[in-house]
Subunit: 255 residues, 2 copies
């Protein structure tokens, strides 16, 4: 008897009709049964938000004349939760989130809807991957999509340690210019924070967030530098945020 | 010449008119100059969201006839960013977020607007504390507020290591029933995820997220168990999510 092909759940934070998730879908179809459950609209920089105060709606989404998946009126984390609890009849073998338009490097990981969706997969003990492309303009998702397929095959075989997901960032360059793959840690980039103050036609003040990244000097073992140098960056990410190295110090405080 | 009293920035995720932040304000006024910059409405479970696609509005908020602070039409993380970049003339000595109505324990930390605000403070190299009260009902914030003041005095003196905030959870019991203080790690609680399916008056389906916590068997060195046993829990939290222990393992994969 033939073994069933693996079931792969795709989601993202750019919305179910974004080009990045479609590029991913076309590659992943080659290796498994693919189901998409993704936000109905753009959900960038939502962090690890979940929707508690509003009801969620789920609607079928069609692309190129066939059922593509389910659009959810919520965040990426909502999508993975509702997919696993209420939409899918079978537990997926893999969750892949992306391909995000724009990198998720360094501290940006905590603002990332793409990564939070993969984190939800991990919380359900499903191997999970977050995929991002290092550009906001004129994206070509094909290199990242092919790499997602290759990495997925390996992860399906090797699995991932409990509580750990892979945060993958692909530089926006042609396949032959990619220097290789680096296993990296989260870079210590900081922001140059800025708010642009403007006046609306009714003479009221409003602000646009307009910060930019301040890249640090780091080796290519840090995610930001690796992508900058032309490597695909893979960072193992977990969600235990305890600063264990500080436990003893704090216990010495007289509280 | 007298030294200026420390400047303390308060924020929260329950909104600027929530009782928890007012209780905190009254205590913190005893030790410093206090300024509040908090969301204009409730922002629970927003995770580490920031507002990129909408402009932010800032309005003055008055409580009991005097200027209390500034209400921001955004998330807790937005509030701290805009306070530090555009509202305050001087860098605060301390950021305190809360007091949240409801605990922020274990994995819930990643969904928490309260903790994300303190994380933003840390990213600006300001010692930061997230305060939560372990109940959703009939809250008495006084014990938590007094403890926030006491802990703030210590943190103002000792500072905190770079990149580390304190996530504090106070059990909702009387002061004399509190057993003491535990320095804890993030508990490994999981969720029993559930969505309630309902039909609206127009016969359309919608879902409410309705998960509940599955507490694990852990010692009182874990935040969840510590609060359950009647201790105030203090967890040092950082935002480097790299699973360092997996770097070598991944490097041994043939990629």
């Amino acid at each position: 008897m033939l073994k069933k092909k693996p079931l792969i759940l795709l989601t993202n934070d750019d919305g179910i009709y974004a080009p990045g998730i479609f590029a991913l879908y076309k590659e992943m179809e080659k290796i498994g049964r693919v189901i998409v459950v993704a936000p109905s609209g753009e959900q960038s920089a939502v962090g690890h938000a979940i929707t508690l105060t509003d009801p969620l709606r789920v609607t079928k989404a069609v692309r190129r004349g066939k059922l593509f998946g389910y659009a959810v009126s919520g965040t990426p984390a909502d999508c993975v939760k509702i997919a696993l609890v209420s939409i899918l009849k079978e537990k997926p073998d893999l969750v892949v989130s992306g391909i995000n338009l724009g990198p998720n490097l360094g501290i940006n990981v905590i603002y990332s809807g793409t990564v939070s969706a993969a984190t939800e997969g991990t919380m359900f003990d499903i191997p999970s991957i977050a995929m991002s492309l290092g550009t906001f303009e004129d994206p070509d998702f094909s290199v990242a999509a092919k790499f997602a397929r290759k990495l997925s095959c390996i992860v399906l075989k090797k699995k991932l340690p409990k509580g750990v997901l892979l945060n993958v960032n692909v530089p926006a360059i042609s396949e032959k210019k990619i220097k290789g793959i680096k296993i990296t840690h989260q870079s210590k980039i900081t922001f140059k924070e800025k708010f642009e103050k403007r006046i609306d036609p009714r003479k009221r003040t409003y602000y646009w967030m307009a910060g930019s990244v301040k890249p640090p000097r780091e080796s290519s073992d840090a995610d930001f530098q690796a992508v900058k140098e032309g490597y695909i960056s893979i960072t193992p990410v977990h969600y235990d945020m305890t600063a264990y190295e500080e436990l003893e110090n704090l216990r010495s405080w007289k509280l």
